[in-house]
């Protein structure tokens, strides 16, 4: 983790300088139009989909090639580890693939450097095909334009450990429904030496609490509500309601602690149930599922998209393929395979996402699909990996009592705003 954050900052430097050079010279003249012929060869890079979804992706590629005779799509898949470094290195060398799978926070630096094709300009009719909140996630605030086709979405319930709840004398059928209850129950659990949470709040958690995270081109999560939120966590930390590792933990680490039954509650995804079943069966036997805790009425969502770099030699085909991969039919098929959700405007209407068959999986899926309609990507696109690290460190200082909550947030905001420039 450390290694990647370090890179993020470093890599951001050469990108703006060298990219402008290669990008501009190579593409303005020859092929900036999206209306060209859909033919020829393109490369499509995905984020860690091999080998589990190999058949699916190959199926999509075959269908595309059949529909557009004369096209060849070469698929490369990159492991999730180091994806950022790889994309940034390619970007500064001007050798990005024609279609790349990127989450919004990765598309943002590329788009800001003028590396990506603006879909609002090149494909004016594409917007209505996608959910509005998903399309917005790939817009660059303040600059206008959308720089990626929204692909899959994810959101999920909160999982909790009924056995640990019972052990601490709490009603296992009454999980917390708001932040106040979360704190009360956490304090009660802590008396029995059971930790509630495995992570200090992420930027998305601030959003869920109703904190104004980003406004007028600046980070603003040090507002009074943000301070109040961190103080809640501080009180929980002081009595041991957060595990000590929480101070440095990321999302994956917190998930592992929950599976090791060291924490009682963890936000998750629909596909986590399968994981619990195979990797932590004794947890699965006691798993409780409840709605996400939010002050705004909207749950958090994560999403991925596909972007087309301006450096692509074959933009017309790349754009056609990007749209094809993310069309309703292909997305619904993918969503069913991977327990995720489609970002197309009609995708969620599929009976698969609206009817329950009595299984836990279906229950989680239907609830998540419903919550997606209003879900928000609370993580601002400007929030880079480096800023995430800065927030984590400041929060750790606040938890340890080295700084007041207010001071820590002020410092975190100052650092994030500095990195923004």
């Amino acid at each position: 983790m450390k290694r990647r954050t370090f890179l993020a900052g470093l890599v951001a430097l050469p990108i703006t300088s060298s990219v402008a050079g290669c990008g501009l010279s190579s593409n303005t003249a020859s092929n900036s139009s999206a209306s060209g012929q859909v033919t020829g060869e393109i490369t499509f890079q995905t984020w860690s989909l091999k080998p589990k979804y190999t058949d699916y992706v190959n199926g999509v590629i075959d269908a595309f090639q059949k529909q557009h005779q004369g096209t060849t799509v070469k698929w490369v898949d990159q492991p999730a580890d180091g994806y950022l470094a790889k994309v940034m290195a390619d970007a500064s060398a001007g050798s990005l693939p024609d279609v790349i799978n990127v989450p919004p926070d990765l598309s943002f630096p590329l788009a800001k450097a003028g590396q990506l094709v603006n879909l609002d300009e090149s494909l004016k009719d594409a917007k209505p095909e996608y959910l509005e909140n998903a399309w917005q996630a790939f817009e660059i605030p303040g600059k206008g334009g959308c720089y990626g086709f929204p692909w899959y979405l994810n959101t999920g319930p909160i999982f909790y450990n009924k056995a640990l709840f019972t052990q601490a004398g709490l009603d296992p059928n009454k999980p917390p429904t708001n932040f106040k209850e979360l704190e009360q129950q956490a304090l009660q659990l802590a008396q029995k030496k059971v930790a509630m949470l495995g992570q200090t709040p992420s930027i998305a958690d601030f959003g869920l609490y109703g904190v104004k995270v980003f406004e007028n081109d600046k980070f603003t999560f040090n507002e009074p509500k943000g301070v109040e939120f961190v103080e809640t966590y501080k009180r929980m930390y002081d009595v041991g309601a957060l595990i000590p590792e929480a101070l440095t933990q990321n999302y994956t680490g917190a998930g592992a602690k929950f599976m090791a039954q060291q924490t009682a509650l963890n936000p998750g995804s629909a596909y986590d149930l399968g994981k619990f079943k195979t990797d932590a069966p004794s947890l699965y036997a006691n798993i409780g599922i409840t709605k996400p805790i939010t002050n705004t009425g909207s749950a958090n969502m994560f999403l991925h998209g596909v972007s087309v770099p301006k450096s692509s030699k074959n933009q017309a085909t790349a754009l056609a393929f990007g749209r094809f991969v993310t069309n309703a039919e292909n997305q619904v098929k993918f969503a069913k395979l991977a327990s995720i959700f489609p970002s197309t405007s009609k995708g969620g209407d599929d009976p698969y996402f609206t009817t329950e068959d009595g299984s836990d999986e279906a229950r989680v899926r239907v609830a998540a699909a419903k919550q997606l309609k209003t879900a928000v990507n609370y993580t601002p696109v400007q929030f880079s990996d480096q800023m995430r690290e800065a927030l984590l460190q400041q929060l750790a200082d606040a938890m340890l009592g080295k700084k007041s909550a207010k001071q820590a947030l002020d410092d975190a905001v100052a650092e994030c705003n500095r990195l923004l420039k």
Binding site: R3, F6, L7, L10, V11, P14, S18, Q45, W47, S48, L49, K50, P51, K52, V76, D77, Q78, P79, A80, D81, G82, A85, K86, M88, A89, S92, A93, S95, P97, A256, M259, A260, Q261, S269, Y271, G274, K275, T278, D279, A280, P281, S282, L283, A338, S339, I340
Partner: protein, 273 residues
């Protein structure tokens, strides 16, 4: 007599706890890799209820692990040869040959160790691209082919040889090349083994650089290939564990085979004199 026994017991206790700390996680990983489906893998439980080696076979089914291993072996093998040869020659030149700027050259080598690899990643990638070596295994090998650390290790080993021996060889009419191959090289065998082992290990373990250079799955090395076991949505911890054991096995074997030379090499500068 009694206090000595007591001390000895304490010492062994200390040693045992260090043993537990250092190989405990490894054993845990191994235990995970042979656990059957439906067992808890996130709680420390060193004895699987339903041991199976099926996970190892499954790794090979999920990713072409042998292709990856062969690529890794190729890269690591070439790295060992270039490092032993190149670093020995450079080290000898720095230690024994007299030329202008020798001290300066040594300082350059030493200071290049201090530059973190991440800092030069992008520029190195651009160089490789300029040479047309991206997406080739040659591109993976090149940056690590003669590591500065190895040059310095060998330089120090050569410096530890008594200068008189070499002067004698000069009087006997040996030229620099003859002194290097017949005299100097045979007496630093231990350090050469250390260099070989280090360079094998570094290139076998390297993740970031091959990841950035390569984009064709056929050319992937083992470390990147195994990252595929960490799927985006679902991952099977048992397969990940089995994969890491496969990856670390050659290193353990190599170390066991060479450990006699290894420890001699580490202390070489000290014993010779």
């Amino acid at each position: 007599m009694k206090p000595a026994h007591y001390k000895l017991a304490l010492r062994y206790l200390g040693l045992l706890s260090i043993l537990a700390i250092s190989i405990g996680p490894f054993l845990w990983q191994f235990a995970t890799s042979i656990k059957g489906p439906g067992e808890d893998v996130f709680v420390p439980d060193f004895i699987p209820d339903d041991p199976t080696f099926g996970n190892y076979a499954a790794v090979a089914e999920v990713v072409p692990v042998w292709t990856f291993a062969l690529n890794s072996l190729g890269v690591a093998g070439v790295n060992v040869i270039t490092n032993c040869l190149g670093a020995a020659m450079a080290g000898y030149a720095l230690a024994r040959l007299k030329f202008k700027g020798r001290r300066f050259a040594a300082v350059i080598f030493a200071s290049s160790i201090l530059v973190p690899f991440e800092a030069i990643l992008i520029s190195l990638f651009l160089v490789m691209r300029g040479l047309g070596l991206t997406n080739t295994l040659t591109g993976v090998v090149l940056p690590g082919s003669i590591a500065a650390l190895n040059v310095l290790l060998l330089r120090n080993a050569f410096l530890a040889l008594p200068a008189e021996v070499e002067e004698a060889a000069v009087i006997d009419g040996a030229n620099a090349w003859q002194r290097f191959t017949r005299l100097a090289l045979p007496s630093v065998k231990g350090t050469l083994v250390v260099v070989a082992l280090f360079s094998f290990m570094f290139s076998w373990d390297d993740f970031l650089w091959p990841l950035v250079v390569l984009s064709d799955q056929q050319k992937y090395t083992l470390t990147i290939g195994l990252a595929y076991l960490q799927g985006t949505f679902v991952q099977n911890q048992r397969l990940v564990a089995a994969g890491t054991i496969i990856a670390v096995l050659p290193l353990i074997l190599l170390f066991l085979l060479l450990q006699k030379h290894f420890f001699r090499g580490v202390g070489e500068g000290a014993i010779k004199g």
